[in-house]
C-alpha cells in the first residue's frame, strides 16, 4: 500500500527542474512544447499527457532547457537529434512532405473545379427574348414550386 507512495516518491526524488518552477510566458511555452512532442514509448501520446517515466524525463528536460534560455526550435532539435523527426507531432514542411501539406487543398481545388464543370454542363441556355416581366413570373413560379417541393414530402420522381 505504501509501496505506491514510495514508488512515486522514488520518481519524485530523482526529479530536477519541473514545470512548476516556471512562470508566465515560460510555462505557456512549456505547455505548448510538451503538447507537440511525442512520448516515444507510448502508444501515441504526447509527453504532456503521459504517465510514463520516460515522458516525465522528457518533460523535465524541456522545463530545464526553457529555464536555461533555449529557444523552442533548439529544444525540438535537441530531441530530434536523439529520437528522430518522429518525436515531433508537427510534421516538417519540406519537399518530402509536400503531398501531405498541399494534398488536401489541391483536392479541394480539384473538387471545386469539378463542381463548376458539372454545373456548367447542366446550365440553362438563357432565354432569347428578354421579356423581363414574363421572366420574373416564370422564375417566381419555379421558385414557389421549389419551395413547395420542400414542404411536400410526397413528390416523387423516377
Amino acid at each position: 500500500m505504501r509501496i505506491l507512495v514510495i514508488f512515486l516518491l522514488a520518481l519524485g526524488v530523482a526529479s530536477t527542474a519541473q514545470a512548476v518552477d516556471l512562470e508566465g510566458e515560460q510555462q505557456t511555452r512549456y505547455h505548448a512544447l510538451t503538447a507537440e512532442l511525442r512520448c516515444v514509448i507510448c502508444q501515441n501520446r504526447n509527453i504532456a499527457e503521459s504517465d510514463a517515466p520516460l515522458a516525465k524525463d522528457m518533460r523535465e528536460l524541456v522545463a530545464r532547457q526553457i529555464a536555461n534560455g533555449r529557444s523552442d526550435r533548439e529544444i525540438q532539435q535537441y530531441l530530434v537529434d536523439r529520437y528522430g523527426e518522429w518525436v515531433l507531432y508537427d510534421p516538417p514542411l519540406d519537399r518530402g512532405t509536400l503531398i501531405l501539406w498541399a494534398g488536401p487543398f489541391v483536392l479541394l481545388a480539384a473538387g471545386l473545379l469539378i463542381v463548376a464543370v458539372i454545373m456548367r454542363k447542366r446550365a440553362h441556355t438563357p432565354p432569347r427574348a428578354l421579356d423581363r416581366d414574363r421572366l420574373a413570373s416564370v422564375l417566381d413560379e419555379d421558385e414557389r414550386a421549389g419551395r413547395d417541393d420542400d414542404e411536400d414530402s410526397s413528390r416523387e420522381h423516377s
Partner: protein
Amino acid sequence: MRWRLVVPVVVVLMLVVLLGYGLTRRPDILPSAFIDKPAPEFDLPTLASDRERIETSDLKGGITLVNVWASWCVACRSEHALITQISRRTGVPVIGLNYKDTEKAALRWLGRYGNPFAVVAFDPDGAVGLDWGVAAVPETFVVDEQGIIRYKVVGAITPEEMNKNLVPRIKALKQSAS
C-alpha cells in the same frame, strides 16, 4: 463503360497496396537516430569495478557493444546469456549501461545472473540514456573503433537477431577495420 468511374477502384487498390506494405513494417520499433553518427558524449561513474569512471573515448580503439539494461527489466534476463555468447563469438567487449537503477539492485542482479560486461556505466537518472535516444530497455548499440554507432537492437536480443544480424554485422565491421 465511362473511364472516370474506374477511378475509385484504382484509388482503393493503391490504398490496399499501401496498407499491405504497412503490414510488413513494425511501427513500434523506433530506429536509432544515431546510425552512422558519433556516439553522444558521456562521462559516468562505474559500478564497483577497479575503474573509476568511463567516458566516450573508452569506446574508441576497437569495436564495442553497449548494452542498456536494468535490474527491474524483465526482458533483460532473457538476453543475458546471449550477450556472453556474442562477446565470446566475436571477441568484442560489452559495456553495460545501467539505466535508471540503484547500485544495490544492479549489483545484486549481476551477482545473481553473472556479469558479462567488461565495465558497467552507472546512469541512475537516465540522462545519458536520453542522450543516446534510449526509449525502452533493453537496447544494444554497436559502436565501431572511431566511436560511431553502426547498429542498434531495440528490445531483447533473440537468437534469431543474434545469428542473422548482430554477429554478422560485428564480424563485417571487424573485417573492414583491420
